[in-house]
């Protein structure tokens, strides 16, 4: 009899453990108004880049490959952080560079999903590369060139430099990792989901079960509406701002035309993780729809305000530098 009770307790114990271990059984908490709760501060900082580097040949990579890549990353950071010998003055005509590595926060590990490390955020095409239409890049090339070479007035510079939105596609959609400020805070209220993006303090406001705004309205970060499919928040974004066409950071360079349609899926798969999936349908800039996924992980770190406009001395310095060059 005692043995039978023990066995029953053991079975119950293992059932509980199994339910805890397998994330597909995870049932997210609900908000007070009944929606799955995605709220909290999350980060997508990662060494995994949007596109697969040439030295990887598959989406899933081994632990040995990850260790080697992390070692390379550390060596790169070490070299970046120690550009000069003691007492040495930087050489004239050298690389201007930026600042010590401590100011950056690019992540220290690769994306891991279903227990496997990932070589790219892109899951389709299977080669992990953007199916770019080179003709579109060629057409847009002159505008890109002007953005980084002209400085007659602030409006000629890039959106990131002007503190309009974060550089790259950190604010999304899709929301991609950059070198620092990779934090996102999700707040929900009845009918709305707000995602505060740390990079440039951009707020994405997603209207639930709503129609899109008229097509002539093209806000920063696009026009996003969402709905729930079971436990998954699905967000569809159209009418991207024309000036957000170029989204470039060290880790990704994408084009996003006004007509593009981006679909994102947010599924809470555990207490500390949201599975973030997306697909981009942009026939003008890409030969086919491309897809990606990554985890958003909870962090104890606070969100800090990134009040870019308040201290953007760099813009004045860039314009002053251009005037000084004109005098030469």
């Amino acid at each position: 009899m005692v043995s039978g009770v023990q066995n029953s307790l053991l079975i119950i114990f293992f059932l509980c453990i199994s339910a805890f271990i397998y994330s597909e059984d995870y049932q997210p908490a609900k908000t007070w108004f009944g929606d799955p709760d995605l709220q909290g501060v999350w980060t997508n900082a990662s060494l995994t880049t949007l596109e697969r580097p040439d030295y990887f040949d598959s989406l899933e990579i081994s632990e040995e490959q990850v260790i080697a890549a992390k070692n390379n990353s550390e060596r790169f950071n070490e070299a970046l952080d120690n550009p000069y010998e003691t007492g040495e003055t930087p050489e004239s005509g050298g690389d201007v560079g930026g600042y010590n590595v401590a100011w950056m926060d690019p992540g220290n590990d690769f994306i891991k999903l279903n227990g496997k490390y990932r070589s790219s955020i892109i899951t389709y095409p299977e080669n992990g590369k953007l199916p770019r239409r080179l003709t579109r890049w060629a057409i847009e090339g002159p505008s890109i060139y002007r953005m980084f070479t002209r400085a007659d007035h602030p409006e000629e510079r890039s959106l990131g430099e002007r503190c309009i939105v974060g550089f790259g596609s950190s604010g999304g959609p899709p929301m991609l990792n950059v070198l620092y400020n990779n934090h996102y805070q999700i707040v929900q209220s009845p009918g709305y989901v707000m995602i505060m993006v740390e990079m440039n303090h951009d707020a994405r406001i997603i209207r639930l079960n709503s129609d899109h705004n008229p097509d002539n309205m093209k806000p920063w970060l696009g026009d996003s509406v969402g709905w729930w499919e079971g436990e998954t928040l699905v967000v569809k974004t159209i009418n991207h701002h024309p000036q957000q066409k170029f989204r470039a950071a060290i880790r990704h360079q994408i084009l996003m035309m006004e007509e593009a349609e981006v679909t994102e899926r947010f599924t809470r798969t555990g207490t500390n993780e949201i599975l973030y999936q997306f697909e981009v349908n942009d026939k003008k800039a890409y030969r086919e729809t491309w897809k990606g996924e990554m985890p958003l992980r909870s962090t104890n770190s606070k969100m800090y305000e990134y009040a870019c406009h308040e201290g953007n001395y760099a813009m004045a310095n860039i314009l002053a530098g251009a005037r000084a060059e004109e005098k030469q």
């Binding site: 050298g94 930026g98 401590a102 080179l134 890049w137 620092y180 800090y304």
Partner: protein
């Protein structure tokens, strides 16, 4: 032939991007690669502002005092690394190596980037793991819990 032109143009676009997208803004647009600096001075104050913090340093050479503003990165990352306003006190002597801004009027202060900021003995002023805040999956023992 047209395809070739398209490809070349696209490659040039990529090259421009990769050269310029290293930060919130293009440092090459702000600083002069032909004006390297190597200065030692006392910290006057640190402006903990975004998008980039600025360290004000007073440099004395041959009896003449010059104030430099040295550009760093976002304070958000340093705060996560445990570095705050109390970490770098006025009067601390530091060595700054980098490049002066293209505009060299030095009015009211000279401007440079902090490509490398150290104490006189070579230790980094801004130390810290560059990975704080990254995804935590237990793989890295240095991760903060």
């Amino acid at each position: 032939m047209i395809n070739l032109i398209y490809k070349i143009s696209a490659i040039i676009s990529f090259s421009i991007l990769s050269l310029n997208i290293s930060s919130h803004h293009a440092f090459t647009a702000e600083f002069d690669a032909n004006a390297p600096i190597n200065i030692t001075g006392k910290v006057l104050k640190v402006e903990w502002i975004n998008p980039h913090a600025w360290v004000h340093v007073e440099v004395e050479e041959k009896g003449k005092k010059t104030t430099w503003m040295v550009e760093g990165g976002t304070p958000n990352t340093l705060i996560r690394n445990g570095i705050n306003k109390e970490s770098i006190k006025p009067g601390t002597v530091i060595v700054v190596r980098g490049y002066q801004s293209k505009g060299k009027l030095c009015l009211p202060r000279c401007i440079a980037n902090g490509r490398d900021v150290t104490f006189p003995d070579g230790r980094k002023v801004f130390m810290g793991s560059s990975g704080t805040g990254a995804p935590r999956d237990g793989a890295d023992p240095r991760e903060r819990r």
